[in-house]
């Protein structure tokens, strides 16, 4: 605890016990899957299949155009029947590719496996791009971009923190795919030419730490680090600071770090070893609004409704359905929304009525903001429509982690108010 700066983080009860030690439930999609044509940093796609065309598990359906290249693969076999605008979990309507599922799940070898030990760095980079590996922790940032300019990387940090409450998908996946995980970190270490690999796990998971330590015991320059059970420990900036004690301006590379999520590592290794893209993922379905909270393995493009039904349905007639964890996940008002490759969780909560009172400037939000911002003052400036002030207060650097709303004793929607401030600034810039 520092005198001149707040804690910039906060312990949040995780409720991980709801799903952490249950077997993973296999959920197969129904008659249709809807594969979103969406990736971070790119909105235009080149379609590679025609309506009515037969597709298989692994068929490349589309590829993004523009700065980043991200291919989209089919997760089922059947017939591509067309495009459909649907609500996406980002709360914006997106084009989805509709595939009629023949329930045979016939797979094709869309690319060849690659032995990372014999491959060059360039080969690995091209392979990663072609396999469509993105940040599966939630951001969806194309992973190969991080490695393109990887130079003087001191630490490759593997983020196994999972700081959002309720989510245990990485925690469940990691022991199951330990061999792939080890392969993945070694391949990525080679790509980054990193001096060492640091695997960050919460201190509250001693068994997982032990398991990881036994598996990497014989590998040089790979270590497991326990990090405090606080939110948002899994945010890139917080994690990099925790491990390197350095802060960066835009990218972790500035301080010689690359951060990758566990699921990303495993997906990459899976592609390397089996020559298959990521077509399914483990999703935590949890919260007090769901009958049977569990981790499910689900094909990309499966509607949330089917996943919820597999978990026993809702516990209440009125629920909040959240795509992601309760902190950063967006509330979705339709359960037709589909599971995306970056969907790590579906959280269902019973509504709680809050009785807000006026802000009394306690400064809890400023004390806890992991970005070091002062939400209370940003909101004041926003109410006064003082754009200069909002800029001075770096309102645009908010990542909407939600901690300010969480800690606010007056029960105000601080994060939402900061979002409004950001919008005011963004409109001004356009």
């Amino acid at each position: 605890m520092s005198l001149f700066k707040g804690r910039m983080r906060q312990y949040i009860p995780g409720h991980k016990e709801l799903t952490a030690h249950k077997d993973v439930l296999e959920v197969l999609p129904g008659k249709k899957v809807f594969i979103p044509l969406y990736t971070a940093y790119s909105t235009t796609f080149e379609l590679l299949v025609k309506e009515g065309e037969q597709v298989f598990v692994g068929t490349k359906l589309a590829v993004s155009k523009g700065k980043v290249v991200v291919p989209i693969y089919s997760s089922v076999s059947g017939t591509f029947v067309g495009e459909q605008k649907m609500m996406h979990h980002t709360l914006k309507p997106q084009t989805h590719l509709v595939i009629e599922n023949d329930e045979k799940y016939e797979a094709i070898q869309v690319f060849q496996p690659l032995d990372y030990q014999n491959a060059s760095r360039e080969e690995l980079l091209a392979f990663m791009m072609n396999a469509g590996i993105v940040g599966y922790g939630g951001a969806g940032f194309p992973t190969y971009i991080k490695y393109q300019n990887a130079d003087k990387v001191e630490k490759l940090i593997i983020n196994a923190v999972e700081c959002e409450p309720y989510i245990t998908s990485d925690f469940t996946l990691l022991p199951e795919k330990m061999d792939l995980f080890v392969t993945g970190i070694l391949a990525m270490k080679k790509m980054a030419q990193a001096l060492e690999v640091v695997i960050a796990v919460k201190n509250t998971y001693p068994k997982l730490i032990q398991l990881l330590e036994t598996n990497v015991a014989n590998i040089a320059d790979v270590r497991v680090v326990g990090v405090p059970n606080v939110y948002p420990m899994g945010w890139e900036r917080t994690l990099v600071y925790q491990i390197t004690k350095k802060r960066y301006d835009r990218l972790p590379l500035e301080v010689g770090a690359i951060v990758n999520n566990v699921t990303t590592v495993i997906a990459f290794a899976h592609a390397l070893v089996h020559g298959k893209p990521m077509v399914e993922r483990v999703v935590t379905v949890s919260g007090d609004g769901i009958q049977n909270p569990s981790n499910v393995r689900v094909r990309i493009g499966t509607p949330v409704r089917e996943v919820v039904e597999a978990c026993g349905g809702y516990t209440s007639d009125e629920v909040k359905l959240i795509a992601g964890g309760p902190m950063m996940g967006k509330t979705i008002v339709k359960d037709e929304v589909v599971i995306d490759c970056v969907s790590n969780a579906i959280t269902v909560l019973k509504p709680v009525v809050e009785r807000p009172v006026a802000c009394f400037r306690c400064g809890q939000c400023s004390d806890h903001c992991p970005a070091g911002l002062q939400p209370v003052r940003i909101v004041q400036a926003s109410k006064a429509k003082d754009k200069k002030m909002m800029e001075r207060l770096h309102a645009l650097d908010c990542v909407e982690c939600g901690l300010c709303t969480y800690v606010c004793p007056s029960r105000l929607d601080v994060t939402e108010n900061v979002r409004i401030a950001r919008r005011q600034l963004q409109i001004g810039k356009k």
Binding site: K320, F360, R419
Partner: protein
């Protein structure tokens, strides 16, 4: 099936403003309970009752003001009241006031604090000045010296901070004076425990400390404010003690901490989040500034206490402090360190400068007058032995009447109607050794309150064992002229006895 929408995040922590305010109120009531106990046990039921009446007055005036405001601004009264937390202001204001205040004065102060201090600024969370401090300032400005009848008989004399300010200049170096001050305060321990009259809730540093620690643990208050405020006052007190060369210095900073409103302010006033900066760095600067101003006002200004105005001044500077720490916390860290260091240095410098201009409290030196048998005035007085009794055990008792100031100078005095009587003394002498056994005045003809000093055992004791055969000397410990003349009268009486014994 209904899916509700709300903006993320969808999870809330446990801390709530209502709980904070509830715990704050409990803390305040604990402090108030202690003061009730003190006034009841030390000063009786009437004073304790007066204290209860004060609290009730403040709460009622607060309620009327808030309800009236809600009514005239057409707001729903119940939600308005429950979101306004006016009772906290009322209780804090009552606890800051001395017990001697009248309910009327407190009522006026509460009204002003609630209406002008808070509601007119836009209500809870919008005010610039700490409303309770504003109310207290109004009492200080308009009602000083107005004392409630009930408390008049019980609480005489000034509070310890007023004494420290008026009689000791907030700067005491002389060990005798320190002893005197400690006697007035009942010792540092008593200051710490709080069994002395002062602000109703301000006296017990010990209790306030405990409440403060509880509050920090429960996150009711920010830990930075009280810790920086108290430690800065301690450091500045130590610097003054060191600068003015106190040999046993530790009591001085502790006196600063335990006396007056410092502890109360550290727990309840500075920590008012509405009127202090929101950022961690800002809070530190705020508390540092308040501590420096507190000490400066104490030692140099014409006010008994500096706590109140230091808070109001820093409240005023809060927006400026906020502006100074715009930006990301970890980026302004260096700036915060520099600003803190510069203000600390300025604070120490200005406090030392102020201390150098303050005269340390000195003991009033009393003139000691020596009277010898050769004294001209003594010999100009007339004396006669009225009677001489041999006690038969080797001692003789003389009754001597001797002129005093009244008897000698009386006729010249205007409007003097005392009667010009001489003083009469009874003097017992051991005839074997010619030593005085005792001298006492049996009748005082001199001025009341001055001549009476002759009856004082402290004065007459010096005659006991006096050898009449040799030279002697009598000293009067008082510079008041009349008493000296009365003393000379007693010496004259003794000389008459000496003459009678043949010396």
């Amino acid at each position: 099936m209904k899916f509700l929408y709300s903006a993320s995040p969808n999870l809330r922590g446990k801390l709530s403003t209502r709980r904070i305010m509830l715990e704050l109120m409990i803390g305040l009531l604990v402090v108030y309970g202690f003061s009730l106990f003190y006034y009841f046990t030390e000063h009786g039921m009437a004073v304790a009752l007066h204290s209860l009446i004060l609290m009730a007055t403040s709460l009622i005036v607060m309620a009327i003001t808030e309800v009236g405001f809600a009514y005239f601004t057409k707001q729903d009264i119940i939600p308005f009241l429950s979101n306004s937390f006016g009772w906290i202001t009322a209780i804090i204001l009552t606890l800051m006031c001395p017990i001697t205040i009248t309910p009327f004065a407190l009522g006026v102060a509460t009204f002003c604090a609630i209406l002008f201090g808070k509601l007119l600024f836009g209500g809870f969370g919008q005010n610039i000045f700490n409303p309770a401090a504003l109310g207290r300032a109004i009492v200080l400005a308009s009602f000083t010296g107005v004392v409630a009848n009930v408390t008049e008989d019980v609480i005489t004399g000034a509070t310890i901070t007023t004494k420290m300010a008026n009689d000791f200049n907030w700067l005491v170096v002389d060990p005798n004076m320190i002893e005197k001050l400690m006697k007035a305060a009942g010792g540092l321990q008593n200051l710490f425990v709080g069994f002395y009259p002062g602000g109703i809730g301000e006296t017990s540093a010990l209790l306030l400390c405990c409440v403060g620690i509880f509050f920090i643990w429960r996150k009711v208050i920010d830990w930075r404010l009280p810790i920086i405020y108290l430690s800065t006052i301690f450091v500045l007190g130590s610097v003054i003690a060191w600068y003015s060369g106190m040999s046993d210095w530790l009591w001085y900073p502790l006196f600063h901490l335990f006396s007056g409103g410092v502890m109360f302010a550290a727990v309840f006033m500075l920590t008012d989040p509405v009127t202090s900066p929101t950022s961690a760095a800002g809070k530190c600067i705020f508390a540092l500034g308040a501590a420096i101003i507190t000490v400066l006002i104490r030692i140099k200004a014409n006010l008994p206490e500096g706590v109140l105005y230091s808070i109001l001044i820093m409240n005023m500077l809060t927006p400026m402090i906020e502006r100074a720490f715009d930006g990301k916390q970890y980026q302004i860290l260096k700036k915060a360190y520099i600003v803190f260091a510069v203000i600390s240095a300025l604070g120490i410098g200005s406090v030392v400068l102020a201390a150098s201009q303050v005269e340390p409290a000195k003991e009033k030196v009393k003139e000691v007058i020596k009277i010898t048998p050769q004294d001209e005035y003594v010999n100009s007085l007339e004396a006669t032995i009225e009677s001489e009794v041999d006690n038969g055990d080797g001692t003789k008792t003389f009754t001597v009447s001797a002129q005093g100031f009244a008897a000698k100078e009386g006729p010249n005095l205007p409007d003097y109607n005392h009667g010009f009587e001489p003083n009469v003394f009874e003097i017992k002498v051991d005839t074997a050794t010619n030593k005085v056994v005792y001298l006492k005045a049996t009748k005082i003809g001199d001025t009341e309150y001055l001549g009476d000093k002759l009856l004082n055992a402290k004065y007459t004791v010096q005659f006991e064992g006096l050898d009449l055969q040799s030279e002697f000397e009598v000293s009067v410990n008082d510079a008041i002229t009349g008493a000296t003349y009365s003393a000379k009268s007693s010496v004259r009486a003794l000389l008459e006895v000496r003459k009678a014994l043949g010396f």
